[in-house]
């Protein structure tokens, strides 16, 4: 139970800092200078990418010519959010071992994506995962549902990122919340509208390299101070905390249903995140798609080991250091999720603090750009080109629509970011993962692996899964009590996935079997064709020539 709630509140870790650290900090000059360098460099890349983004394929997939290694870095850049950097190291700082449990949950979805999803996705799809889901099913209903699932996931994730960005930048740079949100919104619109997937990919790659380098430097400096001995690090941490509780599982996982449910949401939700799935179309073939996941898993796993070291380093360096302690409220200034930032200062002074702050900002930009591109693709490629225009649309028009959608999404994100400033949004990332696991993933997975799937089954089962996930989150503590102010939660567990995924899979199975229509027979007959393509890549989309 507690563990499930913690997932929901992880996103708010970064955000809640604001509550504890109200008011702005002094303007941090070195952070701003380093951030400006990042912005100028990425805008330069966007200019370069814009000249190379001529066709829809360039816009959605960077021409399909990204290598497996580059894509692995970009996936890592897309996935490692500021919430995971600051939130997980903060969680380790506060709870020790429990923080590790958390990061493991975020990692274990990746092997599953590789074994069951990645290559089939690459062989069957073109621009979005809806291409795969609707490969042999009826375009209009399936694309509409898949696009809604994508947009819901993207919107929830985006709001959480925007609010987090505003509050983080306020603390790190001393900028006003509104300015920060508007600036993030404008930059992501620029990257995506002009540079499409190519610019987004390189922003993510640069961010991943910066984040991994910065975190590596911190971890190495921490290990250097303890003579590269984990035992020394841990014993100093235990001495600082005056308690060995940080070395063992705490109250994070107490009830098995919540624990399993959260594990399912993280594992299968990752395999249903539209901005992550979209990245598989940027590589040339299944071989590169597999390499992408291999490298991504390596980078993300390495990153989580670094955050674990940084969290323990923070315990050693900060716990009894008056420089970083809040004399009035107790604990460290700004709350647990500022621990990585303070640790950066303790290790490398103002300059390194500035660097890590700029990296945190770059991290947010890379994640929101990927999200916006995925959302815009759902609007332009799925809803406009294939549902509204029924596939009869020229490429230029589709690209125009995707650019307008990007601008519209960016503006909506700015407004929602401002509107949700003071709201409790802790449930949003959890809900995004739950929807991805209960609607997007079951449809995608069964369309690839289950011959008897029909349109009716996918639409009914997928919608029921989505609805169950939303209703259960609303009835859970995160919304029912924390947002709506009721006394006790109606749904007692932290995460809906164990039930909502079951509803989706059973619903899809039942409605598919009940579907005896002529269309259903054709859809089942078309499976063999799809299966051969998914297994061999014959007929799959290649990379563009340039």
């Amino acid at each position: 139970m507690k563990w499930g709630l913690l997932l929901l509140s992880l996103s708010s870790f970064v955000f809640a800092a604001d509550a504890q650290f109200s008011g702005k900090r002094d303007i941090n000059v070195s952070a701003i200078v380093m951030f400006l360098i990042f912005v100028l460099a990425t805008l330069g890349i966007t200019y370069w990418a814009a000249k190379r983004t001529k066709t829809a394929k360039d816009f959605y997939t960077a021409g399909g010519g990204i290598t497996g290694f580059q894509n692995g870095l970009a996936i890592a850049g897309d996935y490692m959010s500021a919430a995971s950097f600051l939130g997980i190291s903060g969680l380790v700082y506060l709870k020790g071992f429990d923080g590790l449990i958390y990061s493991i949950g975020f990692l274990v979805g990746w092997p599953i994506i590789l074994f069951l999803v990645a290559e089939q996705l690459r062989n069957l799809g073109k621009y979005t995962f809806s291409d795969v889901a609707s490969y042999r099913l009826r375009q209009t209903p399936i694309r509409t549902l898949a696009a809604l699932g994508s947009l819901a996931t993207v919107a929830l994730y985006l709001i959480a990122q925007m609010v987090g960005a505003g509050q983080l930048i306020q603390i790190l740079f001393g900028l006003d919340y509104e300015y920060a949100v508007v600036m993030v919104g404008i930059l992501m619109i620029l990257y995506v509208t002009f540079g499409g997937m190519l610019a987004t990919t390189w922003v993510q790659i640069i961010k991943a390299v910066l984040l991994l380098s910065g975190a590596s430097f911190m971890a190495i400096m921490i290990m250097y101070q303890v003579g590269f001995s984990f035992e020394t690090l841990f014993s100093q941490a235990v001495a600082a905390k005056k308690s060995a509780a940080i070395m063992a599982p705490g109250g994070l996982v107490s009830d098995p249903i919540s624990a399993i449910s959260l594990g399912m949401a993280l594992m299968f939700g990752t395999a249903g995140l539209p901005h992550i799935l979209m990245r598989f179309f940027t590589v040339s073939d299944a071989k590169e798609a597999r390499k992408s996941v291999f490298f991504a898993t390596g980078f993300i796993g390495y990153f989580y080991i670094l955050t674990f070291i940084i969290g323990f380093g923070a315990i050693v360096l900060l716990t009894n250091n008056p420089t970083y302690l809040d004399p009035i409220k107790g604990g460290i200034i700004g709350g647990g999720n500022m621990s990585a930032i303070h640790t950066a200062h303790a290790i490398g002074g103002n300059l390194f603090l500035g660097f890590i702050s700029a990296v945190a900002f770059a991290t947010i930009l890379a994640v929101v750009s990927g999200l916006t591109l995925a959302g815009a693709s759902a609007v332009s490629h799925d809803l406009y080109a294939n549902v509204f225009a029924r596939g009869r649309v020229d490429e230029m028009m589709e690209m125009k629509v995707s650019k307008y959608s990007t601008i519209a999404l960016g503006i909506v994100a700015i407004f929602l970011g401002i509107a949700f400033e003071k709201q409790n949004i802790a449930f949003m990332v959890g809900l995004a993962f739950a929807i991805a696991a209960s609607a997007n993933f079951p449809i995608l997975f069964l369309s690839m692996f289950w011959k008897k799937l029909t349109t009716k089954g996918a639409v009914w089962g997928g919608s029921l899964g989505l609805l169950t996930a939303v209703v259960l989150v609303v009835l859970s503590k995160a919304v029912w009590v924390d947002v709506l102010g009721n006394k006790t939660a109606i749904y007692a567990y932290g995460n809906p996935a164990i039930f909502s995924m079951a509803v989706a899979f059973i619903g899809i199975w039942l409605f598919s079997l009940m579907d005896q229509s002529e269309d259903a027979k054709k859809e089942i007959a078309a499976y063999e064709h799809q299966f051969i393509r998914s297994q061999t890549g014959i007929g799959a989309e290649g990379a563009s020539a340039h």
């Binding site: 069951l116 841990f234 070395m247 599982p249 996982v253 071989k287 898993t297 390596g298 064709h529 061999t536």
Partner: protein, 104 residues
């Protein structure tokens, strides 16, 4: 792809072999990952004291190397799959495509 190509792939015994080998391998590795992860979670849920035991004289507990091992296992499994799929399975796929082409 044309109906002709697709019938040839389907009729090729190598295709059935590829599908069977790869599916089995992918599912086996998936099950390994699921078992490792859920075993880890269930130990924490039902028997946290197991992970709280100290290793030797110091403060390091059993849970820490086990947790780090789960991360390493996840990465190693992706390596094992990628190695075999990009070698053996892609060679088989290539062979099937060659057979289809040369039969025309």
């Amino acid at each position: 792809m044309s109906q002709h190509v697709y019938d040839r792939v389907k009729a090729n015994p190598k295709f059935a072999e590829l599908v069977q080998k790869r599916s089995r391998f992918a599912w086996q590795l998936s099950i390994v990952m699921l078992v490792v992860y859920y075993a880890f979670i269930l130990v924490i849920a039902f028997s946290p004291a197991t992970f709280a035991q100290k290793i030797g004289e110091g403060v390091t507990t059993v849970g820490i190397p086990v947790g780090l091992a789960v991360i390493v296992i996840a990465f190693v499994l992706t390596g094992i799959y990628t190695q075999r799929a990009n070698g053996e399975f892609d060679d088989m796929t290539h062979q099937i495509k060659e057979d289809v082409r040369s039969g025309e």
